[in-house]
């Protein structure tokens, strides 16, 4: 056995090694502070380290064998990590872990099929050699679908996204951060690696498909995030949204490449890579922040938080930074990559095909709506969690988390800021990785004059400068603030006025209420189940009637696609069971019918075909099936 291609380390691999390292170091420090919260620390440590190593293994794997080995190791260790706290809340954790296990292996089957075909069963073949085999394979689109199903079930794109809102809340928070921030990106790495190395060149339709999947994921992710009141499920839904945004960039890159617009294509791919990094940074930070809040309040329900900014300032401020970044507000890194994706879509005016040219604005519409809804969602997530009054006793007793966890969060905030300020350097790395994959380098086009202004490569595209914007924004804010200070205005504290009503924790706006208008507008999608529980107030003096309103949204895809598939599978297995338990006379009848079917179909399809005999023979068959097999009872 030769180990020639077991590992390879090219530009793209290096890039994702960098991503994993950036995502893991703050996470490991945070984990150190989170450990006392975990009962099975040995189990946790072993799987955590193996998980990180296996992710590194996936991105440096050089052949199918090592890739699949590390991929599976990554799946299994993350599955075990979800199960870390299984004993605390078995009703939630066990089904979530089972679901994740199923979904990840569903994807694995397709990856395996893909590799079996493109390597002729020789798993030690290098990726470059696979390109030849795949090129000779007549049904390239089949390979593309295998790849999509395999990687997108891990990345969490619609309609394979359903496991995310279950698995992420069930896992311990550092693991959620690592899974959402880093592991989903390993799937994106897979997309890059095998679409470029094995399946290149791509037909136009593939890119369109990726674009459509991306746009749908982005919208559906953010819409379900809005209706969610479990903070970690909310963030998990946002991962779906952001994977969608990455796929929009990726799809645009594929479309431009198929249309022989290499510069625009590189720009779109750089945007997708940049958003991959950005999502790693802010989503890890958000999950850490959510973990800290959960650590202190012992609940995931956003309706029981409130007013945590005062007791947990570090958590709150880092969470605010990540919220601004994920909402794509300037001048943060999230804004920069989303800006690049928008710019690459504006490049669609260079496309000659009119129908495609008219279709891209719909994707722009989807992305813009996603951006708007993301802002709403993070105002909700930050505002309800950290602002206002404490909504529960748990929130009142919350204190700032320990030093390790704070360090982890601050470091990750540093990564967010680094991605913003050092954007030119990162873009140079993405550019170099794409050059390694055979795309033209466009660094000089993006930064034509200085490293401070990021230019779009679409003709007469816009420009943006994160550093200047940040400096000006901070300058103006500082100027205003110190101007105000210099005035020495008298300040007085008083309880909230609110038109003279008494404000209390109960009268505040809740997360459900905040998302109310949007939920009502998208009622056709959400189809919420509303419950109102009415009970007498136990306090005899006040004699109030207490009404508790709760609302639950059933995810559409889960309700339709998954539940129905399960129901059909159940039905089929029931009939198979019935078949297997027939008495012997029935078996004989079945064999008779089978012979009839074979004979008839031979006559019809291979001999002479006429509609009359087809109908006649099918009627005969149906009658004999009804009489002999199903019998009277049916």
């Amino acid at each position: 056995m030769t180990m020639t291609h077991f590992f390879q380390l090219d530009g793209l691999s290096m890039l994702f090694v960098g991503l994993i390292v950036l995502g893991t170091i703050p996470n490991a420090i945070y984990s150190r502070g989170y450990l006392p919260h975990i009962k099975r620390t040995g189990h946790y440590r072993i799987h955590y380290i193996t998980f990180v190593l296996s992710m590194l293994g996936v991105v440096v794997a050089g052949n199918a064998l090592s890739f699949l080995f590390f991929w599976e190791l990554m799946s299994l260790t993350s599955w075990q990590l979800i199960l870390t706290e299984a004993s605390d809340d078995p009703d939630q954790v066990l089904p979530a872990a089972r679901f994740y296990f199923f979904m990840t292996h569903f994807g694995f089957v397709f990856l395996l099929l893909f590799f079996l075909i493109v390597s002729h069963g020789d798993f030690e073949m290098s990726f470059a050699q696979m390109h030849g085999v795949a090129g000779a394979f007549p049904y390239a689109t089949l390979l593309f679908f295998f790849l999509l199903l395999g990687f997108l079930s891990k990345a969490g794109a619609v309609p394979l996204h359903v496991w995310l809102p279950y698995a992420h809340p069930a896992a311990p928070s550092p693991v959620s951060a690592l899974m959402s921030g880093v592991m989903l990106k390993v799937a994106i790495y897979g997309m890059f690696r095998f679409l470029f190395d094995v399946l290149y060149p791509w037909p136009l339709e593939w890119g369109i498909l990726v674009l459509v999947v991306g746009a749908l994921s982005a919208l559906i992710g953010v819409l379900y995030a809005l209706s969610e009141h479990d903070i970690k499920a909310l963030l998990a839904n946002h991962s779906i949204e952001n994977i969608g945004i990455i796929l929009i960039g990726f799809g645009m890159g594929m479309i431009f490449d198929s249309l022989k617009l290499p510069t625009l294509s590189s720009f779109a791919f750089i945007a997708a890579l940049f958003h991959t990094f950005n999502h790693m940074s802010f989503k890890s930070l958000l999950f850490m922040g959510a973990g800290s809040v959960l650590h202190e309040t012992h609940t995931k329900n956003i309706e029981s938080y409130g007013g945590l900014l005062k007791s947990m300032p570090v958590t709150a401020l880092t969470f605010l930074l990540a919220s601004i970044s994920i909402s794509a507000l300037p001048p943060t890194n999230g804004f920069l990559s989303e800006w690049m994706i928008f710019q690459s879509m504006l490049g669609s005016s260079h496309i000659d095909t009119m129908s495609l040219k008219l279709a891209i604005p719909f994707a722009i519409f989807a992305l813009a709506l996603t951006g708007g809804l993301a802002i709403a969602c993070f105002v909700k997530a930050f505002g309800i969690t950290f602002l206002g009054l404490h909504r529960s006793t748990n929130a009142r007793h919350a204190r700032e988390v320990n030093g390790w966890m704070r360090t982890g969060m601050v470091l990750m905030a540093g990564v967010v800021i680094g991605l913003m300020l050092l954007a030119p350097w990162f873009i140079a790395q993405f550019d170099a990785a794409l050059v390694g994959l055979g795309h033209p380098g466009i660094y000089a086009d993006i930064f034509p004059d200085t490293v401070f202004t990021l230019h779009s490569v679409a003709v007469h595209g816009g420009a943006v400068s994160p550093q200047i914007l940040l400096a000006v924004l901070l300058g103006v804010t500082g100027f205003l603030y110190y101007g105000y200070r210099a005035l020495h205005v008298k300040e007085r504290l008083h309880r909230t006025w609110a038109c003279g009503y008494r404000t209390g924790a109960r009268t505040q706006y809740s997360a459900t209420g905040f998302a109310g208008p949007i939920r009502r507008f998208f009622d056709w999608l959400y189809r919420p189940e509303e419950h109102v529980d009415t009970s007498e107030e136990p306090d005899p003096e006040r004699q109030q009637i207490l009404r508790r309103y709760s609302m639950h949204v059933r995810p559409l895809f889960e309700a339709s696609l998954y539940t129905r598939t399960a129901r059909i599978a159940n039905g089929i297995s029931y009939w198979v069971y019935r078949l297997a338990h027939f008495e012997q006379t029935r078996y004989a009848a079945m064999i008779f019918n089978l012979m009839l079917t074979v004979l008839f179909s031979y006559r019809i399809f291979a001999h002479t075909f006429s509609w009359a005999t087809l109908i006649l023979e099918s009627v005969v068959l149906l009658i004999s099936i009804k009489i002999l097999i199903i019998g009277e009872k049916g």
Binding site: G307, L309, S327, P330, F335, W339, Q343, L346, S349, M354, K357, L358, P361, I364, F365, A366, A368, L369, G371, G372, I375, A376, V379, G383, I384, F386, L387, G388, H460, G461, G462, A463, V464, S465, I468, L469, L473, V476, T477, L480, Y484, L487, V489, E491, R492, L493, H494, R495, T496, W497, A498, C499, Y501, T503, Q508, Y509, F514, P517, I518, F521
Partner: protein, 306 residues
């Protein structure tokens, strides 16, 4: 450069006047005795002298929030298209960044609304989030279409380019984009079909509800931010959709520019008098109209080239 700074100061100082003008004009049309058009300045001056009353429940967000609401808008002012040809302008910022800056300001405004723990703030923030989310796609599509016509995404350069070949090119798509942008101007600034800036009735208010618990200078800052936001939109509308008169000598060009701003204010006042405020859940229909016009504009541009 001097002209640039002059335009900037002019825009900042004219902002309350525009809102005052709208108010006065509306009252005159309704046969009420109008308030002075200088009322905005008087209010600000009065608020500057008052003490600041802060909510006990509020956190640091309320203390720094107002500055963060105003700052992005002031920054956005720096990058607007010039009022005259050959005037200095900064073209490092494009239309997306500009809308991003406006969203950043709204983001902090919504947080202020949630900060005091009052249910009014929550109402306002929730409604603002709803409207802002639906404004975003219309805004981006309109920008896309205008930038196609202008041949440049840099907002300042786009204004100049449009001025050069106004009104010869792409009249149809230009008009559609203009309609869409005007609706967005009304929606983003909380003017009447979307929000009523003069009401204090909780069923209808959006912007006012968010700032109910602010007072003194903080309130003055937020009100200034609102007027500056209006001036940004008005001046964008003027530079992108009424781009004439830039070629004259700077004083005259500036006068024409101000005249056009006043014209926009009058148009807004007339719309306000003649329409009823929409129910919150009818607002998406109005924004849907804006989205449709933006799409139409793009399609006419692509297909007909008109």
């Amino acid at each position: 450069m001097i002209l640039y700074l002059l335009t900037l100061t002019l825009l900042v100082f004219i902002a309350p006047l525009l809102l005052g003008l709208i108010k006065a004009l509306k009252m005159r049309i309704l046969f009420k005795r109008p308030v002075s058009i200088w009322q905005g300045y008087r209010d600000t001056a009065k608020l500057m002298h008052k003490e600041t009353l802060l909510s006990e429940e509020a956190s640091g967000i309320t203390r720094v929030g107002p500055f963060l609401v105003l700052a992005p808008l002031l920054v956005a002012l720096l990058f607007l298209p010039p009022a005259a040809e050959h005037a200095y302008y900064i073209n490092v910022v494009d239309a997306f960044t500009l809308t991003g800056l406006l969203s950043l300001s709204t983001f902090f405004l919504m947080l202020i609304g949630l900060d005091s723990g009052s249910s009014f703030g929550g109402i306002g923030a929730s409604r603002e989030a709803f409207i802002a989310a639906l404004v975003e796609p219309a805004m981006v599509l309109t920008i896309f279409s205008v930038s196609m016509m202008a041949g440049d995404l840099g907002i300042a350069q786009a204004g100049l380019n449009l001025a050069h070949h106004f009104p010869a090119h792409h009249m149809a798509s230009f008009l559609f984009a203009g309609i869409s942008f005007f609706i967005l101007l009304l929606a983003e600034n909380g003017r009447i079909p979307v929000d009523n800036p003069e009401t204090h009735l909780e069923l209808t208010m959006v912007h006012e509800a968010m700032i109910l618990d602010l007072s003194g200078i903080y309130l003055a800052i937020i009100e200034t931010a609102a007027s500056i936001k209006f001036v940004i939109f008005a001046s964008l509308f003027v530079s992108l959709f009424l781009p004439f008169g830039l070629q004259f000598a700077p004083p005259l060009a500036l006068a024409i520019f101000v005249g056009k701003l006043l014209l926009v204010a009058v148009a807004v006042a007339l719309v306000e008098v003649n329409t009823a405020k929409l129910r919150l859940f009818k607002v998406p229909n109005l924004l849907g109209v804006a989205i449709v016009f933006a799409f139409l504009s793009l399609i006419t541009y692509y297909v007909l080239g008109a």
